[in-house]
Symmetry: C2
Subunit: 212 residues, 2 copies
């Protein structure tokens, strides 16, 4: 049974990019079908969790035959909104801003930079790759002339709230927040915020170190 | 029923840091008990998922009374290995290495830097905070005299495998991998690797942008 518009829980959504990565790897190796058991071994998730998560894509899984890899991959791609491309700006061109700008995999998935901003007069006006660092005060006029779907917030923690508010007032609809300051309070029906919690990943590693 | 050494699935382990963050927030606000329903609303995870995940800590949840916040927080802290401290080194002192070095929350959780390394003669010998950037060739002798629990790998993608192998040969037991090159192939009984997948978080954001 295919349930086109079945509501997907946030917990499942958070796991979809991981399925997308693994399925993309299978697609690139020309693997056509995979059982929940095989996927379970590759991904280190229980087969029952996988069946439960992917149940929503019922049309691609058939008992005893496994999942149709390409169809499932394409469907997850569609759900994640990756059939479109996204324009990114970076606000805060310190070390992290520079590092994110050079990250090799964003553009592979359709995320492209269109502008970079900072407040510091010592770096405003400098060239970084194909961009000139612009003063953040010019953001509203920039947004009048250019589309920007997602703003990467890479300023210092102490400035996070003020700068995020300014971005929202300027018309930004999605903030990818690297400031280590939780900005969920600024989320609304029209403003989406995703906080990056690097320590979550570090803690998983210290768990593994202690596991005997 | 308290099951002291019940096996915890990898999927649950990956969610524990998130519970730890939210419970830490409740602890700091002196909240003593919380129901799975309330926690569900705060964390945007279904109450049944929470009950299933935290079932393993059965001793802290009591039907109708909710979870004992402090006990659950302390137990998750123990399981994640956060009652100990960890010594970190960074290998690759480009923009990302510098940004991670200045990340404000690692030390709050007991992760402290003890050394930074690079291969580039132009930056080896330079001072960064309280550290002198050391040549990566000096890592084996450094490890003979110093303990380092986790190596942060922040070199370019093309050098990821070679440098990771060198780290493992030098005695490193845990690699926190920021290179965007999957290093799972190097994992073993004694070597733990945690890959940071920033695009997973970015994809969750583009999902939210498309969700109507």
């Amino acid at each position: 049974m295919c349930l086109e518009n079945k509501r997907i829980s946030t917990a499942v959504i958070r796991r979809l990019p991981r399925y997308y990565r693994y399925l993309g790897d299978l697609v690139s190796r020309d693997i056509q079908r995979i059982s929940s058991k095989e996927l379970s071994q590759r991904m280190n998730i229980t087969a029952s969790q996988i069946r439960q998560d992917l149940n929503i894509f019922g049309c691609f899984g058939q008992q005893g035959y496994g999942y149709n890899v390409v169809s499932l991959y394409e469907e997850i791609k569609r759900i994640l909104g990756l059939t479109k491309t996204y324009k990114l700006i970076i606000v805060g061109m310190g070390n992290l801003g520079h590092a994110l700008m050079n990250h090799e995999s964003f553009s592979l998935h359709g995320y492209d930079y269109v502008g970079v901003f900072d407040k510091n007069p010592e770096i405003v006006g400098k060239q970084v790759s194909e961009f000139i660092i612009q003063d953040i005060d010019s953001l509203p006029s920039f947004l009048e002339e250019n589309q920007a779907d997602i703003a990467i917030l890479a300023v210092t923690k102490s400035k996070a709230i003020d700068v995020a508010k300014f971005l929202i007032e300027s018309g930004v609809k999605a903030i990818w927040n690297f400031t280590n300051k939780d900005l969920q309070i600024l989320e609304s029906e029209v403003v989406h915020i995703e906080n990056v919690h690097l320590t979550d990943s570090l803690m998983t590693l210290s768990y593994k170190l202690n596991e005997k």
